[in-house]
């Protein structure tokens, strides 16, 4: 199934650091302003996982999250982040709305977030490279 632009944008915003989202959201706010539709709300998502014996889902436990909803240039933006992080939820929602409204500041943000995502992916590959040093090499004696 094709992934929508909005879902791709969510993943891109989610890969940005707090500081980057703050800086980029400020640019959007100075270009077009924003209106808070739903103030950042701290709550829980019950995480489900599929167990491996019968293949049924079960409730593993709750995860603390923060979500917010804003309007930029008449377009709605929503964002949810893990943990208690009101500012990040708000900044993410502002960027999501900016993407919906195809603002100039979003185009710049998209480029910066893509670079940050690439850096994160690289860190992950490095992490796996480090872990591979602990791969067991059995010898028959």
């Amino acid at each position: 199934m094709a992934v929508s632009e909005r879902a791709k944008r969510y993943e891109l915003i989610a890969s940005g650091s707090d500081a980057t989202l703050r800086r980029l959201a400020e640019r959007v706010a100075s270009e077009a302003g924003f209106e808070v539709v739903r103030s950042p709300e701290v709550g829980m998502v019950m995480m489900r996982a599929v167990e491996q014996v019968e293949g049924i889902p079960f409730n593993l436990g709750e995860v603390l999250v923060t979500q917010a909803e804003v309007k930029v240039a008449g377009r709605l933006g929503w964002f949810m982040t893990m943990g208690r992080n009101l500012q990040r939820a708000l900044d993410g929602a502002i960027l999501d709305a900016a993407g919906e409204a195809t603002l100039e500041s979003w185009k710049e943000a998209e480029r910066i977030l893509a670079e940050e995502k690439e850096a994160r992916d690289r860190d992950r590959r490095r992490e796996w490279g480090r872990l591979l040093r602990t791969k067991v090499d059995f010898e028959v004696v």
Partner: protein, 369 residues
């Protein structure tokens, strides 16, 4: 029997709480920062997240600090806090095949597809106190991996040992149709017996590590019949996925560290237990464990107890579902045990009255005459 109300002790309670606060913070002792607990006492934080049933490293670290290192008390604080929060939604179920693996070992086979990755492990170290830690001050030097010539590698999806065993027909994972089934939620409905498999796994996932270890140990030592081989034990990050409120698509909010265990069990006399109705093939049976954070002891215990509960069906008193699931919850058990500290003046007076009455009847001269 009626209850009698008493008043008093308010001043003593206030002073006791003040003393408790003071004893947590002796004069001239530097404040322990919550971030230090979060970053350096990871095992405690992981255990509290699991037993508290709420994944948030910062909150769990705060609870550990506030409880002065009492992990059951910390889990209680986290459980109490979660009751103040709204439940936004249920996630899209994550499959552990999606895990970014940090550690993966098998005690069933030497060679497994993708290899055995020890990751960060103390398994092979001697349990000797490291007195060098006494001298640690300030912050550790920054480790720059690039300077050590680190390579970049893409983690490929791993075939699990269970996949191999299933392909050979040694195990059969039953009930794949159940994937669309709505799981029970013991945080909203409470535990009812007989418990569904989903309710049971949820109860085990938030069980108290020590209680689960003790019960699993009892089974392994012979008070039960389950003594498995670990097909796989893994630690890694699972994606937390929700439905986007506008598009309805699945989006990944973040990652949650988990420990997963697949246990393979033989039957009581080597003749493997057949799984599922209408399956005449002898096969190994399975136990499953999945818990928040890195907590291998608990994940293994969960897999053992999962199997115990599947096989038990009243085999012995301790293998009973109610016995196990009611007694492994830390908040329940600590509350019940510690309630004994509360005044029981009236009930004990009643017991004393009965004893005195008995003694009056049994005055030696009267009885023996």
């Amino acid at each position: 029997m009626g209850y009698v109300s008493f008043r008093g002790g308010e001043q003593a309670i206030r002073e006791a709480e003040r003393l408790s606060r003071e004893s947590r913070l002796p004069e001239n002792s530097p404040f322990l920062e919550v971030t230090q607990v979060e970053e350096q006492l990871g095992a405690a934080v992981d255990q509290v997240m699991g037993e508290g049933g709420l994944y948030d490293r910062q909150l769990a670290a705060l609870a550990v600090k506030q409880a002065e290192g009492d992990l059951m008390e910390a889990a209680f604080l986290v459980r109490a806090y979660r009751t103040t929060l709204p439940r936004i939604c249920y996630s899209i179920p994550s499959h552990t095949r999606e895990m970014f693996v940090l550690r993966r070992i098998s005690s069933a086979f030497r060679e497994v597809p993708g290899g055995q990755i020890l990751g960060a492990s103390r398994d092979f170290s001697l349990r000797l106190l490291d007195f060098k830690l006494m001298a640690e001050k300030g912050a550790p030097p920054i480790q720059n991996g690039r300077d050590r010539g680190e390579r970049e590698e893409e983690q490929e999806p791993m075939t699990t040992v269970l996949d191999l065993l299933e392909a050979e027909g040694a195990v059969r994972r039953t009930g794949r149709r159940g994937q669309d089934q709505e799981p029970d939620d013991i945080t909203t409905q409470g535990l009812r017996f007989p418990a569904s498999r989903s309710a049971r796994l949820q109860a085990l996932a938030r069980g108290e590590t020590g209680a689960m270890t003790a019960l699993a140990y009892a089974s392994l030592r012979g008070y039960g019949s389950v003594h498995p081989t670990l097909a796989e034990l893994r630690v890694g990050y699972l994606p937390l996925k929700v439905r986007h409120p506008v598009t309805g698509e699945t989006v990944t909010v973040g990652e949650v560290m988990v420990t997963e265990c697949h246990a393979v069990c033989a039957g009581p006399v080597g003749a493997e237990v057949s799984q599922g109705e209408g399956d005449s093939m002898p096969r190994f049976s399975l136990g499953f464990g999945l818990v928040f954070g890195r907590n291998e002891r608990k994940a293994i215990s969960m897999a053992v107890l999962d199997r115990v509960l599947e096989e038990a069906k009243g085999r012995s008193s301790w293998e009973n579902e109610e016995f196990i699931l009611y007694h492994l919850d830390g908040v329940d058990s600590m509350g019940f045990v510690e309630h004994l500290k509360l005044p029981h003046y009236v009930t004990f007076l009643s017991a004393m009255d009965r004893w005195r009455s008995l003694m009056r009847k049994e005055v030696p001269g009267d009885v023996r005459s």
